[in-house]
């Protein structure tokens, strides 16, 4: 009976695994001809998982009913909200990938399957309430991601990205494992609840090291400074749809995992990790902003932008309150919309030979040659800079509101002042598109799926997005409540 309930709770994961395996067989028998059909099937599977998970969030489920396999796994509203974002972002990446990879002659049938397994890994990550589950999910996701980064085999940069990602990812996994073994050594348990109880009171030096190593390993996954160095290279080298995927779904998964680990497992030691998080937050904001200024490649620039955004998200974690957690979920949702919008817009730009346009200088005068794409991209940029009335402002607003409510006014003030540096390079993109003379590099038509994604994400981040705030805020509050209730 107990086992059956557990199986019911992991229904989305089971669906993902089985369909991943079946589609893998299909890919093996049918070959690359079937790659489009498999992509469509994968999107359908993700959609089905989306609707499997949605009720959990809407009902705001939490507590013992959501615990599966005797505390290894928890399918609560918090995990559900993260999963919804992950499935949506993975689906978006799957929609834009086939055309792009076709043009590079590297569309193969295993691409959608790998995406499914990555989504499965992330889904396990966000539900993990035990260090073992955490590690299995993380590695399943990472292994798929390493292959995806190197997916464009003919492209040297893609191979380099994959290799770099693999080496540094393995190092980070090592650091994380080391931290986990220290945690186990000092607490005698791998379950988050057990760790939490064991770490109450004064923290020993060894346990402190455990916390630091675990956080460092996770900081690598969310590319927070000072573990961000891989991000620009990997983002630049990986095929653009894969970059769009990296910048969204794994970020969501790793951030929610970090929230669970720090608020649940290490929740009693928040004073120990708070300063680390504050440092990482401010350093990410500043480095992400300064690093982006000199970039000429849009994907590198967006990589630094994602580092910058992670900094803002971490401010919510530093607050360490339910409001902070809720604000982080809201920010993540808006961040996913902005990132999908920006990458779809970038993918829609191709030169006369069908090669992707990635050089920022080639965007010159886009407002006159491709006015709608330019307007959407400009909206995304202003939104990323956090200028009201665009929706990106709301993400920053709730995060800083949470920080102020947690009496961290100084952190909020420094963080928001540093966001002005970031505004500079977002403005640069707008300037190139609107003020410069047209370069007429980007030509080529796009299909309805790209337009649809671009328009939807632009509508979400436009001022109309504010209509979503009661709904989005309500869901995020439920998610945060379930996270804190679990404690």
């Amino acid at each position: 009976m107990e086992f059956k309930t557990s199986l019911g709770l992991i229904a989305p994961e089971i669906l993902l695994s089985i369909s991943g395996l079946v589609l893998l067989l299909v890919a093996a028998w049918a070959g690359d001809k079937a790659s489009r059909a498999i992509s469509v099937a994968s999107c359908v599977v993700l959609g089905a998982c989306f609707f499997l998970v949605a009720p959990t969030l809407c009902a705001g489920l939490s507590g013992p009913d959501t615990v599966a396999f005797a505390g290894l796994f928890r399918a609560d509203a918090f995990a559900a909200m993260a999963k919804l974002m992950i499935f949506a972002a993975t689906g978006a990446a799957l929609v834009i990938a086939p055309n792009f990879l076709d043009r590079l002659n590297s569309m193969r049938a295993e691409f959608p399957v790998l995406m499914l397994f990555a989504a499965l890994g992330m889904s396990i990550m966000v539900s993990a309430t035990d260090l073992m589950t955490l590690y299995i999910g993380l590695e399943l996701n990472s292994l798929a991601a390493y292959v995806l980064a190197a997916f464009s085999r003919a492209d040297e940069r893609s191979a380099e990205a994959g290799l770099k990602y693999f080496v540094l990812g393995a190092l980070a996994s090592g650091i994380l494992l080391f931290g986990m073994s220290l945690t186990y050594g000092f607490t005698g348990t791998t379950s988050f609840d057990g760790i939490r109880v064991a770490l109450t009171g004064d923290i020993s030096l060894g346990a402190l090291f455990a916390v630091i190593f675990v956080l460092a390993g996770l900081a690598f996954k969310i590319s927070a400074v000072p573990f961000h160095m891989w991000t620009p290279d990997v983002y630049e080298g990986a095929p653009t749809p894969v970059t769009a995927f990296f910048a969204t779904a794994p970020k969501v998964a790793a951030v929610t995992l970090l929230m669970r680990v720090s608020l649940e497992a290490f929740g009693t030691q928040s004073d120990a990790w708070r300063q680390i998080v504050i440092f990482a937050a401010l350093a990410s904001i500043v480095v992400g902003a300064l690093g982006a200024i000199g970039q000429t490649n849009i994907k590198r620039l967006l990589a630094f932008s994602s580092i910058n955004n992670v900094g803002f998200i971490l401010i919510g974690l530093a607050a360490g309150t339910p409001q902070g957690a809720s604000a982080m979920m809201v920010y993540l949702a808006i961040y996913v919309a902005m990132t999908v919008g920006s990458f779809v817009a970038v993918i829609m730009l191709r030169d006369a030979d069908g090669r992707p346009v990635e050089n920022i200088a080639d965007f010159a005068g886009l407002s006159r040659t491709k006015p709608i794409i330019a307007m959407c991209l400009a909206a995304v940029m202003f939104s990323l800079a956090g200028i009201p009335p665009l929706f990106g402002f709301w993400g920053k607003f709730v995060v800083f509101q949470a920080a102020v409510q947690a009496d961290m006014v100084a952190l909020a003030a420094i963080g928001i002042a540093a966001s002005v540096i970031g505004a500079f390079y977002y403005l640069k993109i707008v300037k190139v598109m609107y003020f410069d003379e047209p370069a007429n590099v980007a030509v080529g038509e796009n299909d309805w799926a790209h337009w649809g994604l671009l328009i939807i994400s632009t509508l979400v981040i436009s001022p109309l997005g504010f209509l979503l705030t009661p709904w989005l805020g309500g869901l995020a509050d439920k998610a945060a409540a379930s996270l804190f209730l679990a404690i």
């Binding site: 102020v404 928001i416 003020f435």
Partner: protein
Amino acid sequence: MEGFPILSLMLLVPLAAAVACLFVDAKAARTIALIATLVDLALGLVLWAGFDVGGAQWQYVERAPLFAGFTWALGIDGIALLLIILSVFLMPICIGASWNSITKRVGEYMAAFLLMETLMIGVFAAQDLYLFYIFFEAGLIPMYLIIGIWGGDNRIYASYKFFLYTLLGSVLMLIAMLWMVNQAGTTDIPTLMSYDFPAQAQTWLFFAFFASFAVKMPMWPVHTWLPDAHVQAPTAGSVILAGVLLKMGGYGFIRFSLPMFPIASAEWAWLIWGLSMVAVVVTSLIAFVQHDMKKLIAYSSVAHMAIVTVGLFSFNVQGLEGSMMLMLAHGLVSGALFLCVGVIYDRLHTREISRYGGIALNMPKYAMLFLFFTMASIGLPATANFVGEFLSLAGIYQVSSWAALICGTGIILGAAYMLVLYRRVVFGAQVNADAAAMPDLDLREWLMLGSLTLATLWMGIYPESFIAPMRQDIVKLEARLSPDAPQGDSRLVMGDPQPTEEVQAHEGAH
């Protein structure tokens, strides 16, 4: 008019027109923009006519809960009313000023201007703290595009500088707002205006708001974005920048800094006076040596706005009324001066003072109107500036005779640089043939400058029309400020004061 959401309508008309402008050709866009701004002007006049002077402090109040703690809260008092009237009055003139001079991407240009109008009215009408911030901050986007796309040669630098300077100022204000709402538990501006924040916190809050408004105003030494932005912006952009955007800083002081943080305002008044005194003298002297007409007027704006700030921080009725009058007057007069520059810039495409000369011969009507606005800028009695400057200086004299003395020199220096500008452009020998061949004003330019002339004269000759709506708001503000207001150094003390007389003198000062 009770119950009819006229303020929302005023916001909606330009917004809808802005969207429409994006989809039509140049000619239609101009027409739509002109009609929309005229409709808004008409609505503004209805607003003014229906405003009950001496009635409730907040009128035309609209309240609708929006989302997540935000409220669609609009409403105006006399102060906001006058600034809204100023905005809607200047907008059709701006559209007129861009009629022929803007030839590329007209639809987008008009859309940006109309969006600007929506946001300006929104700033003055918002009664929710966050709503105010959204309007205040969103104005950066259209202005950035206006300067960057249709500006002069160095427009990119100017647009960046404008954007980043003002953004840095306002984000700190956002943190302060978050703290205030957290503390006071409301986002309602009228409630916050009478909320007493702890004295210690007031200082921090004051400086966070100061960072934003001082940049917007702009006060010395954070004024440096203004000359660049003015010089590079198209004529209408300069008009709206000088006419309305700078007033947002003054409005911010009078709506937020003074009533919400009276203790900190009084405590740090010396800083404002000091910066303003420096600003008046320094920027006037800088204006004196400019070769570029727009830059000269931009620096003169900084000097005039410094007199506004001393007026605001004089904590008495004269000073506050004077600074409000000066803001309105400066909106008209500096807007008109930028238009005057625009008129000859459209003909010769240079702002170099030395490229002109003796144009009184071929443009007598222009020379007449330019002279009028030059005199108005100097503060000649019977023009609007005189009322404002006189009252502001009278107000500051009661609290600091030194500030009054030094700021008073601004009028003398203003006369010097404005008269020199006028002499070099309009009088003298006609050294440049192309300048001598410029045609005089056409009907469109007559209408724009003529309406500004009438408004300036009206405000100068019968200022009561403008002071009446805001009188009771100023009195309320003064009452709020008076407990903490700094003691003046210029109170008259007669002979050997007896204790009783001292009490009387003290009473008299209030």
